[in-house]
């Protein structure tokens, strides 16, 4: 039987020219059958399995990238907020420290002023007391000088005239 088909094939090949192969319609049923079968299989696999898998991967990557970008934006916002908070805190601290320094300075100034006032008062009091003492000493000295002059005058008169002058007279004379 194989011999029979072989001779048939050779006689056909030798007998009349083989048709242009793509236009050989006897092969069409097989061609279409296998095309439909393989194309359908490929379609179902790509539609149901490969397509969704690739789509999932691409979508996952896109969402991961978007998520990362969101996170980065959030982190930047957080950093900005923290930096702003830091600035506020810094300004507050600076203001507080300035106020404290000012307060302290004023306190010290007040203390200094008080101490100065106290010292001034003491000094004034001491000066006044000293002035009074000086005045008293001067008065005493003046009295001593008058007494001495009177005594000297009595003594001079006594020596020159031999008269005794009363103390009151002598004092009057010395003063006058």
């Amino acid at each position: 039987m194989a011999e029979e088909t072989a001779t048939h094939a050779t006689t056909e090949a030798a007998g009349h020219a083989t048709p242009f192969p793509p236009f050989d319609t006897t092969t069409f049923p097989s061609q279409i059958f296998w095309l439909v079968l393989t194309f359908a299989v490929l379609f179902v696999v790509l539609w149901r399995v490969a397509g969704p898998r690739i789509h999932t991967v691409i979508a996952d990557r896109r969402s991961a990238i978007n998520k990362a970008i969101e996170a980065a934006k959030q982190a930047r916002a957080d950093a900005d907020a923290a930096s702003a908070g830091y600035d506020v805190a810094l300004a507050g601290a600076r203001a507080r420290s300035n106020a404290l320094a000012e307060e302290t300075r004023q306190g010290i100034n007040a203390e200094i002023a008080k101490a100065k006032a106290g010292a001034d008062a003491q000094a004034t009091a001491a000066m006044t007391a000293a002035d009074a003492r000086i005045e008293a000493s001067r008065g005493a000295a003046k009295a001593h000088v008058a007494d001495a002059a009177r005594d000297a005058a009595i003594a001079i008169v006594a020596r020159l005239t031999g008269e005794t002058v009363s103390a009151d007279d002598a004092a009057k004379a010395v003063k006058g």
């Binding site: 194989a2 088909t5 083989t18 242009f20 192969p21 793509p22 236009f23 050989d24 092969t27 069409f28 049923p29 097989s30 061609q31 279409i32 059958f33 296998w34 095309l35 439909v36 393989t38 194309f39 299989v41 490929l42 379609f43 696999v45 790509l46 539609w47 399995v49 490969a50 397509g51 898998r53 690739i54 789509h55 999932t56 991967v57 691409i58 996952d60 990557r61 991961a64």
Partner: protein, 254 residues
């Protein structure tokens, strides 16, 4: 070499002598072409499925290839038909991958080019056209026939409607013949030059040295054919998108 006849490479031969079964009175053989189609389907389907691991955010090289082909087709659909054309992504993606892989597998010397068969390309083009007609009527009902009525004065329509109708009806032919003829011509040319190389090399003497010229030419043509293999798959897919766009949006821009 396979033979002196450069057309012999396009012969569809049964690999198993006996027909597998009969379908409507026609014997179905497991042919060299069937083997190639099965290989293309198995390899491309398993490649596109297995190289992609969900959750692997940093792709490997092969995963990148799968992702790039996916995005290539989805961008193609998006730019030609707008976002509502993405429903047809599986169909266009399958067409593109199938035609592309058949074209590239055909470039393996000693292989077989599935797309060099008019039966295959015409069946694919017919599938595209049936899809277009089905989608058009499903979306617009009888209004789909407005596709044949361009915006023009009535007296021009007398002329334009038949032209539009004929142009629509010849689409499956142009779509299928473009792919078939490109593949056929490229492979025929390669076979012819290969024949030159063999006959010049066998001639002996000085002529043997001359065999280098068609060989160099073959290398160039082979490169060109690789480009054509990709380009024709792309053209097939892009025209499918354009036809689908017309079915979805008639003459309106998307």
């Amino acid at each position: 070499m396979a033979g002196e006849n450069p057309m012999e490479q396009f012969a569809v031969r049964p690999l198993i002598e006996a027909p597998l079964f009969e379908l409507g009175g026609h014997p179905i053989y497991f042919t060299n072409q069937a083997l190639l189609m099965v290989l293309v389907t198995l390899l491309s389907a398993s490649f596109l499925t297995l190289v992609v691991k969900p959750g692997r955010l940093v792709p490997t090289r092969s995963q990148s290839v799968a992702e790039i082909s996916y995005k290539f087709v989805s961008d193609m659909i998006h730019s030609t038909t707008g976002s509502d054309g993405l429903r047809f992504f599986p169909f266009v993606f399958t067409l593109f991958i199938f035609v592309l892989c058949c074209n590239f597998f055909g470039m393996i010397p000693g292989g077989f080019t599935v797309t060099s068969q008019i039966a295959v390309t015409f069946a694919l083009a017919g599938l595209v056209m049936l899809t277009v007609i089905f989608v058009g009527f499903a979306k617009h009902g009888i209004g789909f026939l407005k596709l044949f009525v361009p915006h023009a004065p009535w007296y021009l329509l007398i002329l334009l409607i038949p032209i539009e109708f004929i142009s629509f009806m010849t689409r499956p032919i142009s779509l299928s013949v473009r792919l078939f003829a490109n593949m056929l011509a490229g492979h025929t040319m390669l076979a012819v030059f290969a024949g030159f190389v063999v006959s010049l090399g066998a001639a002996g003497g000085l002529l043997s040295g001359l065999a280098i010229a068609p060989l160099a030419l073959m290398v160039g043509i082979f490169m060109l054919e690789l480009l054509v293999a990709f380009l024709q798959a792309y053209v097939f897919a892009v025209l499918t998108c354009i036809y689908l766009n017309e079915a979805l949006h008639l003459h309106d821009q998307h």
